[in-house]
Amino acid sequence: MVKVNCKVNGEKRTLRAHSMARLLDVLREEAQLTGTKEGCGEGECGACSVFLNGELVMSCLIPVMQAEGAEIRTIEGIADGNTLHAVQQAFLTHGGAQCGICTPGMIMAAVALLKKTPNPTEADVRTGLAGNLCRCTGYMKIFDSVLKAVQGAAP
């Protein structure tokens, strides 16, 4: 077992983990942040997406030792208290979430996209979310949600 010091959603944490554990498991089991999901365990589906030092990563592919000294943000750290992030609110209003299992990762990917591209076209959204699989929506309502989140955030 090793101890990993990091910041999770703004809070300093010391996480105990098997040295070969995946960041995904440590977040879910040790930090008890179960909003991050496992869909495939091989970096295909994006359900486990989190921010590691500001970069969107798939936490199933990150050995936990890489989190030493890092800042991590998960879906639990996206809303501002009880106020949803514009992307979360748009997913809720415009049908971006159905079964909800891909939703945390999809929202993380959408937030990452809007950080880099604040006014995306639909083509940007398609490319930006192409690493996150959704089996329920056929993606239409997800595209719609992301584009509406931008409109909602505009003055």
């Binding site: 999901k37 079964c99 089996r135 329920c136 056929g138 309502k141």
Partner: protein, 741 residues
């Protein structure tokens, strides 16, 4: 009244949506218990054979493990479904790869996985069967007397009298492959079991009472000692219809033996290799047509591959059989259908349930006949569309006020079909990318087939809480499609209150009545109607008690509920399904009213086929359907869009590669489902022709969108390339072969 607007027909907020977008929703793997240990499954490495022995090897502390085999099953070692041929754990013999043989449990997941690899099962291989053709040829008998789980014969008129004098006879053969449901949340359960309390299972599942029914004989327990609770479920699509009984039974066996809570969560590779998929199918058509383009006789031979055990194959076969003649009138029809055994893991429920297979064949065949007659696909269908008062293949008189002509006209206009049909051939002369447009016309029956709903006799309850809320009690599960929200809309409108006054109980067999399985496009139409009548009953009780007076606000209603509960202890109303008197079905002859209502649709696909890369892309998609009533515009469109994307996957991306009965591409890396970059714009349009027995006129739509995309896409490919291709999935390598022969 403080409710100016009805809830039904409006896009109200998803009941559990806030928990889903914040990550707070608890799925099965998010749940734990003190002392919980993990379970895993040792599976058969071969397709068929006799188990000679099991050895536990390696440097593993085996005494720390809970080990379960068939001899540990306290009751009957089978999965209770239509037949009891499938063992919960193989006992001496295996019939498919990945068949479960040994269960292990241990607190340490990592050690558990190492141990699983060290269990060696010695199996003497027996000859096995892997294809429909070999199963039908019966060179090896692997199931019963003839390898056949079920056959049906549907006869209308007399096809035999037609062939001799028919102007034109057109034959065709069509194939559809297996398809993985690929819910993003894998199968998983947690079980607690002991002699005193019985068995409790939490799980990702569609049908709590199926699991309940399945575990009773396995554990020899009375009904009230088996309790099944559905946790938030990350997609089902049929894949969590019958399968969860197996994983629930396994976890409960380990829990009983270890005395500890046991969690089994499949990883993706195990879920894809070991659990059910859509039945592969072969459909042959022989059709007699007059010079004028009228259908005279349809002979349809429909065969599906059921895998190693019967499971739900007879019911899948039934739906596929009934839908095989489509939305057309033909005076003489003969459908013979068979579900056959092969040594692959059992195929099972998947959205559409046999209909996507037989409709693919029919709608490709309709284009083929049109070409043979020199008619356009549009014109040939127009001459044969079924009308109100005419009979389907099972002799059902259509009463839906269906207007397929108008539906087709509108769908073709919305997709700009005629203009594209005109310009694409011209453009294609100058391009390596060949564009085409095609369509499919079809219908999908809502609810269980025939007398199925009568046998289910579903019950819904509704109760008042001490805080004045009203709670819907049903076993129908929320799996993403919007059950919670739509039940709140229906109950809210029946009671005349806001949706915030309505709660929907977590499906838990200890507290909710059996409203039937969450399958067959039945939750809104059948169960929703029961929610409505139960709510009306509850309101009557309140009014009769004198605590509620007409013209009330939501707040006054809540006060009345709270006052009633305080005064009388409880406020409950129930409603049970009664078959409408005009539905008649003959199970023996397979004739009559197959479904209470059908949703009707025309889907148009526009494709481009790259003759350099052999890639086929769907560029645009129009989905027009008549569904009775749009209950929630965002959810309804979401259902269709999601189904169309799955249909596109079925047609162009999703290929299960088999080797000796085992799926060998059991990863998301090499089994490809459509991504955000692959799907075309999907334009969804609804027509509403209310169904008298559905809540606010609603019919079922869950499965409908799975039926149309594959034939529409292959019809479009033929328009683009002139290639008549009759199997799906059609991947670039298949296209390469088709182009170069």
């Amino acid at each position: 009244m403080d409710r100016p607007q009805a809830l039904i027909g409006r896009a109200i907020e998803r009941k559990e949506g806030r928990d889903k977008v914040t990550g707070r929703a608890k799925y099965i793997d998010d749940i734990t218990f003190p002392g919980l240990i993990h379970g895993t499954t040792v599976r058969s490495p071969v397709a068929r054979g006799r188990i000679r022995g099991i050895t536990y090897e390696g440097n593993i502390p085996w005494d720390e493990f809970t080990i379960v085999t068939a001899k540990d099953v306290p009751g009957e070692n089978h999965v209770a479904l239509l037949m009891n041929d499938q063992p919960l754990l193989a006992d001496g013999f295996v019939n498919h790869p990945e068949e479960p043989i040994v269960l292990l449990a241990h607190p340490d997941k990592y050690l558990l996985e190492e141990a699983r690899r060290r269990v060696k099962v010695d199996i003497e291989p027996w000859p096995a069967v892997f294809t429909i053709e070999d199963s039908l040829a019966r060179k090896v008998l692997i199931w019963g007397q003839d390898n056949i789980f079920k056959s049906y014969l549907v006869e209308k008129g007399n096809t035999e009298a037609v062939w001799a004098n028919a102007d034109v006879i057109v034959e065709g053969e069509y194939f559809t492959g297996a398809q993985e449901q690929l819910y993003i949340e894998n199968n998983g359960v947690v079980a607690i079991a002991n002699a005193e309390d019985g068995v409790t299972v939490w799980g990702s599942l569609q049908c709590p009472y199926y699991v309940h029914k399945g575990l009773i004989p396995i554990f020899k327990l009375p009904d009230d000692k088996v309790r099944i609770i559905q946790t938030e479920t990350g997609g089902g699509f049929g894949g969590k219809e019958e399968y969860p009984t197996i994983i629930a039974g396994h976890a409960a066996l380990l829990a009983l033996k270890s005395g500890k809570p046991v969690k089994i969560i499949y990883d993706r590779a195990e879920d894809m290799a070991a659990t059910t998929k859509r039945h592969p199918a072969r459909t042959r058509h022989r059709t007699a047509v007059s010079k004028e383009g009228k259908l005279l006789a349809q002979e349809i031979d429909f065969v599906i591959d059921g895998g190693a055990y019967c499971t739900l194959s007879p019911v899948v076969l039934s739906r596929g059989t009934i839908h095989s003649a489509g939305p057309y009138y033909c005076p003489n029809v003969r459908v013979s259908a068979q579900a056959v055994a092969t040594n692959t893991p059992p195929h099972g429920a998947f959205r559409g349930f046999g209909a996507p297979q037989s409709i693919f064949a029919l709608e490709r065949h309709m284009d083929k006949i049109a070409h043979r007659l020199g008619l356009t696909p549009e014109e040939f269908r127009r001459r044969n569309f079924i009308k109100d008062g005419e009979t389907t293949a099972t002799g059902q008189v259509v009463k839906d006020k269906v207007d397929m002509q108008a539906l087709l006209t509108k769908a073709l206009a919305l997709s700009n079909y005629h203009a594209k049909r005109e310009v694409f051939p011209e453009q294609n002369l100058r391009s390596k990318k060949k564009k085409g447009i095609g369509f499919a016309a079809f219908m999908h029956g809502s609810g269980f087939t025939g007398s199925g709903e009568k046998y289910l006799s579903s019950v819904v309850g509704i109760e008042g809480t001490a805080l004045g809320k009203v709670r819907v009690l049903a076993a129908s599960t929320e799996i993403g499609q919007g059950t919670n929200t739509i039940f709140a809309q229906i109950a809210g409108d029946a009671l005349g209150v806001d949706s915030a006054a309505i709660e929907v109980a977590q499906p838990d067999t200890k507290f909710v009545p059996n409203s039937g399985p969450t399958v067959a496009s039945r939750t809104v139409m059948v169960v929703g109607k029961l929610v409505e009548t139960a709510a009306i009953g509850l309101k009557q009780t309140l009014v009769q008690s004198g605590l509620l007076h007409e013209g009330y606000t939501t707040l006054q209603f809540e006060e009345a509920v709270a006052a009633y509960v305080k005064k009388f202890g409880q406020l409950k109303a129930f409603s049970q399904y009664k078959q409408p008197p005009d539905i008649n079905w003959d199970d023996a002859k397979y004739q009559g009213d197959a479904y209470g209502a059908y949703a009707w649709a025309v889907y148009v696909a526009e494709v481009s086929v790259d003759t350099v890369t052999y890639d086929t892309h769907v560029d645009n998609f129009v989905a027009l359907q008549e569904i009775g009533k749009v209950m929630h515009p965002v959810f309804a469109a979401g259902q269709i869009e999601g189904g169309v994307a799955q249909g596109i996957g079925f047609a162009l991306y999703e290929k299960v590669i088999w080797k000796d009965g085992r799926m060998i591409n059991n990863q998301m890396t090499n089994y490809i489902m459509p991504t955000a970059a692959d799907v075309p714009p999907i334009h969804v349009f609804f027509e509403e022709e209310p169904y008298s027995c559905g809540p606010s006129g609603a019919k079922g739509i869950g499965e409908l969108p799975m039926d149309g995309p594959a034939p529409a896409i292959l019809n479009a490919i033929e328009n683009a390339t002139g290639l008549s291709l009759n199997h799906v999935p059609l991947l670039p390598e298949d296209m390469m072969e088709a182009i170069h022969g």
